[in-house]
Symmetry: C4
Subunit: 225 residues, 4 copies
């Protein structure tokens, strides 16, 4: 009786998470298809032609890591979100629609890394993903709509600010694309460090093993022992 | 003893749902591969060539949202379906076969948005998906074959009508394809609103948190607190 | 304590099933990429060029249904398989390797439907998949290696024979490929009916709701109520 | 109360495993797209053109099996890993980034099987995957950071050595690529046998049914009966 998988309702968040995991895994794995094996006239060209693929490999690495950042961000939110409603489902569909567009933007950047327009389009895509992720969190938490009523307001604000770091940095990268392509590229490469390096929010992770990342209250640790 | 994952039987619906989530996630994510990075003669062409991709981007957005509509519809049904039988499994395979065809129809529409035949083929695909989803629900509920015997008949009818909205609207879009391509396209773009905007069925969502969407009885809320 | 997801061991079958569901969902969904949107010289060619895609659509339908047959077959086995061992894991990897090859065979058949060699290669792929599925069942059940010791021997034999139906029929299709391409194609199209239509094994499904398909004993129904 | 799916935290390992299963399933299934259906001038060419695909089929088989080896290795580690932290999540993202690159390396090898540089790139990819998997295990187990404090040190060392077998052998294959292409290829083909054939670690599997593969202590068997 404790586990009734058929009892999954439209208000259950598990289904959204499964779909999201699928979309992220596929978007990540398909990025490599932007890197084509070169055609050769002479066999001796192979090393140099492989080396010439470096912008595509760079785009692959940056995009894979960005998808990792957003995947972790999306999942962390679900550690606090208790239920769904119709509009929330559609915010998720919109979020995934923007995530699934990243392989195109990554292909564009890998193929035309020196074109400002490619950098702008890439940044615009990432900004939209980040903005929708922010809306996702605000919608779920405003008035404690879909989260625990006792969720710490300080944590809600801290998470909101944390989510906004990436899109704000990408606005900078887009603005700089017309001034200096390498600086803009460097921003794309470095933004994930804002999420990989430990931050203030990690106090909540570290303080007690098995506790969710964003709150110090209202949640039961899963691996308590 | 409460969780015996090996005990999954052919009559369990979990396996069908997992396969369906996979097919939907892949079909959604692969839609972006219908948008190819343009080849250039001069670098200056890039902005205009990117702009010329708009019919493909439109097809991407419409198709992603349509897949979202059908994914939510399929899942909502499973909130009430308690078991499977052989024919039900095959209705699901047929459903997924039609869903997995949508990326082709979307590519056709994105490449030939002004050709009536492309609009017809796209609509025919969506009509068939909707019709199979309707059969899926009727098969499961007629005589309460695969659902709770106490499931409210008013809800069964309301869900049936709701499922039929999309294919009926798409019949209109197909008919109009030969008269006005933009009107037909507009219908494809607007139909999802029938499902995104709140409707009568949402009373069942809103009345009690944690309760499945289509019934007011016979189901145990998962997030009761 | 009832749910310890970290406690999944190499002897647990859940992980294999997850990987298999993923491979099947992807192989099914990618079949549609064998159907390319035609390039046109004149817009008026579109209907006829679309119609010319019928062999590819036929190959899509047959292959999707075949993947459905094998997916159901693989899953039904896991209703009885209680644990895994190293060799069993590798039989599964081999099985999935052959399953994931089907999109190539389907592309070959869709592109050269009148070439006997394409029919032979397609059949050979399907025969190997069926044979590995048979080995999978025999390995798990011989000496009750990985199943319940009380599993009914009559059911083990019935399932074995049932698994062999498809590869045996495909041997016929391969042999006939050199004599009559349409007859061979017809066999490929009709074999799934051996699995879709109700059979003797369905007595075990029908007798008691919620009971696994192949045994009448030794299993606890999941939806007992 | 026993199952609270919403309670999944950033410290839960389940989400990483789901993403990993997705990436592996997709990478495996997409390998077949490196084998293209040949274009023909005369129908009679088909058999010989199909036969000419053998290097790509060989690359498919080797790469699928290698992905199987690493998938099993990654999962076996999670039988002991109890929790995650931020850096551990990112080691996993890095691991998956290298795994998702294998389809490119496989395509390169399949297209240029006689070019030493293709063998080197393929080997380098596999070495990096193995090295990251080793770091993954060391990070989780050093100081019992993310595992059970009572985990047997002998088993930790045995697993470490076992993980290193493949990358060490691949270093040999890379070195030999410039001397003898067939010997190098043979190493790639044979390395998986180091993991498929039973080994010392299997004592831990065989001794007690339902027990995790790498430890004889500190874990509760799942299928105890």
């Amino acid at each position: 009786m404790a586990t009734e998988p058929q009892q999954r309702s439209a208000l259950d968040t598990g289904r959204v998470e499964t779909l999201a995991d699928g979309v992220f895994a596929i978007a990540m794995t398909l990025l490599v298809f932007n890197i084509n094996v070169p055609s050769l006239v002479h066999a001796a060209e192979l090393p140099s032609k492989l080396f010439a693929l470096w912008p595509r490999v760079l785009s692959y690495v940056i995009s894979f890591v960005v998808l990792g950042v957003y995947w972790i961000g999306h999942h962390n939110q679900f550690a606090y979100i208790r239920r769904a409603d119709r509009l929330f489902l559609w915010i998720n569909i919109l979020f995934l629609m923007c995530v699934a567009f990243i392989p195109f933007s990554a292909a564009l950047l890998g193929q035309y890394p020196s074109q400002p327009i490619a950098l702008v389009e890439y940044g615009a895509n990432l900004i939209v993903v980040g903005a929708v992720l922010f809306v996702h969190w605000r919608y779920a938490t405003s008035g404690r709509r879909l989260v625990d009523p006792k969720l710490d307001p300080a944590l809600i604000r801290m998470a909101s600010r944390r989510i906004l770091r990436a899109p704000v940095a990408y606005v900078g990268a887009v603005a700089l694309a017309f001034i200096s392509v390498p600086v803009s590229l460097a921003i794309y490469a470095l933004v994930p460090l804002l999420y990989i390096l430990p931050g203030r929010i990690d106090q909540y992770w570290g303080r007690q093993p098995g506790r969710p990342p964003l709150t110090g209250a209202g949640s039961r640790p899963r691996n308590g022992g």
